[in-house]
Amino acid sequence: MSVFTSTLEALTRQRGVRASLIVSESDGLIIDARLRYGQDGERVAALAASLYRKARLSASAARLGSVAFLQLDAERGRICAAGRPLHWTPDGAIGSDLVIVVVADPAANVGLIRMELLKAVETLA
């Protein structure tokens, strides 16, 4: 059990979700994960974190701002990722290196997954 248990379980409960992970964007390492049998979590973590970081840096360089949500669709699955960029409050800066990643079936309801992901991102410290 970790502080992310309820977050990951809420995501994994969504129909069609094969894996949900909390990963470190800078290291590409798993912080916590819920994986279905056969899912290579370490591989997904490393590649999804790298992809999310690339999207974030490219969007920033293109002056499009921070990336809130990312969705990659492929023939046999899809990957969704969301992170919480560094931002400011009157009390100071809040940031997170953490990215939430979901691997899902092609037919999974991405709209619901997206909603759950964005809700979950708010809980990241």
Binding site: V23, D27, A46, S50
Partner: protein
């Protein structure tokens, strides 16, 4: 990035690894410290130094693991302000090698480890079998072989 190697079967797997993992520097060496292949280095003295230090660090980590865990530690990771280092052994039919990888923010530890696992499998599959047992390296032979390898890697043979 171009890979220079004294053993041809190493070139393709190591080239793929360096490109996929976006390594800044890579070294493949014998546990004794003899260089087998390198990528990203521009001076022989740097390769020599890195090999000597890597072999020593690997030996130290191995001994530490044996004392703490009953078996040698397999992977070593150091994180610096701008660059990181990952070093781990590769087992093949021709014996054990050590692979040292230096990377920066263009890559990540997770990616390097993932591609390193692939490199290990490819090197193990590509390594031709040893036709004879390797003699223990004598100091004179070691020096000569080291110099020969460095010359081969930096095109001075």
């Amino acid at each position: 990035m171009k890979v220079a190697t004294v053993e041809p079967w190493v070139e393709a797997p190591l080239t793929r690894y360096v490109d996929d993992a976006r390594a800044r520097l890579a070294l493949l060496l014998h546990p004794s410290g003899q260089v087998v292949a390198q990528a990203g280095f521009t001076r022989a003295i740097d390769v020599m130094t890195a090999c000597a230090l890597a072999a020593a660090a690997h030996a130290t980590a191995g001994e530490l693991g044996r004392r703490l865990d009953g078996r040698a530690f397999r992977g070593l990771h150091y994180s610096g302000p701008a660059k990181q280092l990952y070093m781990a052994p590769v087992d093949t039919a021709r014996g054990a090698y050590i692979c040292l990888t230096v990377f920066d923010q263009a890559s990540s530890l997770g990616l390097v480890r993932m591609y390193f696992d692939e490199l290990s499998r490819e090197l193990a599959a590509a390594a031709p079998p040893l036709t004879s047992m390797r003699e223990p390296a004598l100091a004179l032979d070691f020096e000569r072989e080291l110099n020969a390898n460095l010359s081969a890697l930096f095109g001075r043979s």
